[in-house]
């Protein structure tokens, strides 16, 4: 109990710091937000242009795909907001030896890594995601009842955990190769493509983005549950199981990696 209190108290201090930081650099923050809005807007524009040519894509309408797009932003944004510092492990902290400082403090190393930074840019993703979902609600294409709302929340959280797990796994490779940024960015890039219906891909590829780097379970697959009555709730169940399994694998890999950590200067 004492430990939980201590960790939450520390996190509160860091969050306060985060908001102070935003207030100090309002312009920078707005720039970041603008950058993200633009990225998201162009994503939708791409879909729009594609749908000028076709009525539907593998059985999905433009509006449904917009929902999937927006729905995908929320777990992505949550993960981005809370665990952005994992990127630094992959790119810099291990190779430069700055990772030392986490090893010197009497706290969980993973917690220290993610607590060090909140990423304000992520608010852009969360905002865009929310706007698109509100639009979908207005269009009446979603199934809305108590059960679906509860599942919605669970699915978003599980999705965020899957994102974090994938990031953590590829960042942990840095303990073996010093810089794992290229691995992490390429894995992360794949998430962009899981925004489309997975039926369009060849079997092998579909398998990879569903089970190996399971971004399909973050966006497209669970989104179906909120759009089509025919989709079973088990998809959310599998998403949760995957979240737990992948997080466990990543966390163990991270800790094995820490045991191999060589610091810098050699």
């Amino acid at each position: 109990m004492h430990t939980v209190k201590r960790y939450s108290r520390l996190y509160r201090v860091l969050i306060t710091q985060f908001f102070k930081g935003i207030m100090q650099s309002k312009v920078d923050f707005l720039m970041g937000l603008l950058g993200f809005f633009l990225t998201q807007f162009l994503g939708i524009a791409f879909l729009y242009l594609v749908f000028q040519q076709i009525p539907e894509l593998s059985g999905w309408t433009f509006k449904q795909l917009v929902f999937i797009y927006g729905f995908a932003q929320i777990p992505r944004g949550l993960d981005h907001l809370f665990t952005d510092n994992i990127w630094m492990v992959a790119w810099r902290l291990v190779v430069s030896g700055d990772f030392d400082r986490y090893m010197l403090r009497p706290m969980n190393v993973f917690f220290q890594v993610i607590a060090e930074k909140l990423q304000p840019d992520a608010l852009g993703e969360l905002l865009v995601g929310s706007i698109l979902i509100v639009m979908s609600l207005r269009d009446g294409i979603m199934i809305v009842d108590g059960f679906h709302i509860a599942m919605f929340v669970i699915s978003i959280l599980a999705g965020a955990v899957i994102y974090t797990a994938i990031k953590l796994f590829f960042a942990s490779i840095a303990f073996w190769v010093k810089v794992s940024g290229p691995f992490l960015s390429t894995a992360y890039e794949l998430s962009n493509f899981a925004k489309y219906p997975t039926e369009i891909y060849a079997k092998g590829i579909r398998f990879v983005i569903t089970w190996i780097i399971p971004f399909a379970f973050v966006a497209y697959l669970p989104a179906g549950f909120f759009l089509k009555e025919s989709v079973s709730v088990s998809v959310i169940g599998i998403e949760c199981i995957l979240a737990v399994v992948f997080m466990a694998i990543s966390y163990v890999t991270f800790y094995i990696g820490i045991g191999r950590y060589e610091s810098a200067g050699n």
């Binding site: 970041g32 603008l34 040519q53 593998s58 290229p182 390429t186 794949l190």
Partner: protein, 272 residues
């Protein structure tokens, strides 16, 4: 000339070495970057399948296959980002150091970029290119690309490479005026992938938008060389699009010099 090479060549060779030193990343990079293009390919195949039309945006299904992979090859050698090197130098304060040395900062960056370009051309650019040609002939039953077209494509791509670098240098100068370039880099990348035709052929845009693109440098960066490769231009049209690339290179070179002059003045006044 010899001295010039002696000064600037190390920037290129160092970058080449740096790129190669990520040994583990090397193999994975090839695999996964191709994986991305394949997904793009499937998306377009599904779109052609759903539409039932023979051509979308003036491209047949087979041409779209070539488009997707040649965009990959072209962007891998063209889109080399100087802007984050500039912002890194600004943060570290090493730009001021560069002012002291008798080296042209922009040239040193461009040489560094050319090191990366050479690397990317071989890894895996040229292999994807050859692979695509084989696929084109064997599976799609098309003819192999003519040497003249291939040569024109290479020349046009090189112009694109210069064009992109010079543009990116101007963009990187923004780093001097804001501490927050990351968001802008992201916005730039998204905008460019759209405007250069990486995501979607520019011919699929509404005609009004296409008119606007004609007056922007971005369509000359990726779309033009790929369209040349597809043999979509001939005669005077070909001369025009390549002439336009040259014109943009000159314009952005001058613009960059002007901005750099302003920036160095500011640096001298405020300190790096």
């Amino acid at each position: 000339m010899k001295k010039f090479c002696k000064i600037y060549l190390p920037f290129a060779s160092n970058e080449l070495k740096r790129q190669m030193s990520y040994k583990g990343a090397f193999y994975l990079f090839i695999l996964v970057s191709l994986f991305g293009s394949f997904i793009n390919y499937y998306l377009w195949m599904a779109i052609y399948g759903s539409s039932g039309k023979a051509t979308i945006g003036n491209l047949t299904k087979n041409e779209m296959v070539i488009y997707v992979f040649m965009v990959y090859v072209t962007s891998s050698i063209v889109t080399i980002t100087l802007a984050d090197w500039v912002s890194e130098d600004v943060v570290k304060g090493s730009v001021a150091m560069n002012l002291i040395k008798p080296i042209d900062y922009r040239l040193s960056l461009m040489w560094r970029a050319s090191g990366q370009m050479v690397y990317r051309f071989f890894v895996p650019g040229i292999f994807v290119w050859i692979g695509m040609e084989i696929y084109k002939v064997k599976a799609l039953g098309m003819e192999v690309v003519s040497p003249v077209t291939a040569l024109l494509y290479v020349v046009s791509s090189f112009l694109s490479f210069l064009l992109y670098l010079l543009f990116d240098f101007c963009f990187g100068m923004v780093a001097f005026f804001t501490t927050y370039i990351f968001g802008m880099l992201m916005a730039k990348e998204a905008m460019l992938s759209f405007l250069m035709g990486q995501l979607i052929p520019l011919s699929m845009f509404p005609s009004v938008a296409q008119k606007v693109f004609d007056f922007l440098p971005f369509s000359s960066m990726v779309y033009t060389p790929v369209m040349i490769y597809l043999g979509k231009y001939s005669g005077s049209e070909l001369a025009f699009v390549m002439g336009r690339q040259v014109a943009w290179v000159i314009f952005l070179y001058l613009l960059g010099s002007l901005i750099w002059k302003k920036v160095t003045k500011r640096l001298v006044v405020l300190g790096g």
